[in-house]
Subunit: 355 residues, 2 copies
Amino acid sequence: MTRIYNFAAGPSAMPLSVLEQAAAEMTDWHGLGLSILEMSHRSKDFIGIYRETVSLLRELYGIPDEYEVMFLQGGGHLEFAMVPMNFSVGGCGNYAVNGVWSKKAFKEAQKIGEAAEAACVDLRAPRQDEIKLTENASYLYYCSNETVNGIRYWYTPEVSVPLIADMSSDFLSQPVDVRKFGLIFAGAQKNFGPAGLTVVIARRDLLGRADPSTPTMLDYETYAKSESMYNTPPTFAIYIANLVARWLLDQGGVKEMQRRSVIKSQILYDLIDQSEGFYYNNVEKISRSRMNVVFNLKDESLNDEFVRQAYEKRLANIKGHRILGGMRASLYNAVSIEAVEVLADYMKKFAEAHS
Amino acid sequence: MTRIYNFAAGPSAMPLSVLEQAAAEMTDWHGLGLSILEMSHRSKDFIGIYRETVSLLRELYGIPDEYEVMFLQGGGHLEFAMVPMNFSVGGCGNYAVNGVWSKKAFKEAQKIGEAAEAACVDLRAPRQDEIKLTENASYLYYCSNETVNGIRYWYTPEVSVPLIADMSSDFLSQPVDVRKFGLIFAGAQKNFGPAGLTVVIARRDLLGRADPSTPTMLDYETYAKSESMYNTPPTFAIYIANLVARWLLDQGGVKEMQRRSVIKSQILYDLIDQSEGFYYNNVEKISRSRMNVVFNLKDESLNDEFVRQAYEKRLANIKGHRILGGMRASLYNAVSIEAVEVLADYMKKFAEAHS
């Protein structure tokens, strides 16, 4: 078997050792004679996996006791509705908009209730002093890493209202001071597990304020009260997330992931910046994402050839998001430094051959 | 490896051949050098899997073209909210209540809007002439198989409004005339795939009527318009459902599943009825579920020993739902006739030893 170098934006590369363990345990988990896929979510074995996964997350991020860790379904898009339904009752959701995902969240909040832009910038994160809350702000929402646009916040905004962050695409890629947040959510399919699982970390005292007409499954309190088992959770996805969390701790945790992310992203940004315009990236330097390196070829007519030749070298999924075009290399935790070096080497040679 | 006989109510037994294929393909799907878990949902390979799964379902149930087949997340509980949000606008959701699941759906509908009981009975399905719609009924909702209570509808209600059915626990276990329904939904984790996937089959002309303030992910139209890919779907769960659907066709389809279900359930009901009261089941005979055989031991003090000794014979997960107590053997498609015979043999000997 020849594995590819997978730069997909999500679902995305997973640690090979996790996949191998999942394969080995697929028909018989720990000698119990059944697959995780066949295991009741109310069994002590699955509850054990569930609780361990929560503990591993608490360890990885240093999550304080006063925060709930919950596992949901529906991805970021369902969170876009749940956040205003749970947190904007009687107030106005404030949104810092600087890319595709924060904009989508803002639009969904407008559909649900009162919402306003607290900032709106392109190709960068807004500065702290550019974020202006409305008087009746009930929270500030931002997206810590804009996957499509390749933009990251290099700082955590400080505000007088609960801070809510979509960390889908930089989850577990760096240390986070959870105490600064009211709620953090992340779709698992980048750095944590399979598609179909959403992690939510929320300050307990902020929950339970949703309107009584809120659908039960859209009230965070439902999950907080039931260890995320009000109904059947996505058991297999939680199991894979468990294996990924263990792998992360074995590798050295989020600090080590941050160290690698800096190296990996710097390799590509340096190459792009030194390519004399053959490749370019327009994102403000301090705001450049360490997870999703977006770039364009000056000569767009070379795009198809660039992608095709890359695939011949097993460098896969480097085409940009359909909205933006161009290229994008996603460098999640399971993408090795070696893989990025192979990509950089390819990019360098491609530029030389076509300059 | 010694596999157990798994009578769990869901997540539940899966075909061994499906698990073996999933294990074999886990690190490298079809020689592409990546796992399904790592595959972009927008890749042509995954879209191929997705479309094939829809086609297989259409083939299994004979689903007409004017019906959409959609894959969602959130389980039955999210459907409980989505049904009234999409179908009761300006009218009243009517519910035939005869067990835990139809009651839960009714309560959620009351939370969302106007809802009424069209029938309310215990230990059986209501007769056609017992179902009374309100004047402003916008649909009739029922649960074709009450998993907890072990009750099935032996007929399809005929009404003048769209018929909506929760088929979570008898999905793909028998032929269904889809044309009789406005919408069918099913959590996959009984007969179709992993937890975290919900299948919805809906008549296209009924969609698109939700209130504009409905969360995007709770509007069926969102899924119908995007081939269920408005956001990232639960890709691995859809892949497993694909393998299960193929297995079902190989086995002879839903007619063959119905034939086996009749045999399997009859083995247990006959044994219960002939046990001279050692075991009993209070469900009206014609309403007895073929998927979930609930029963009690007359001497409840034997419950723990019954469960323990069963497990020694690898007969697992026969304890009843926590709400009802007693016992429950779930006989989904992947539970073989042989497994049921082993269970029946055990039950017979246990009764003899304790009479």
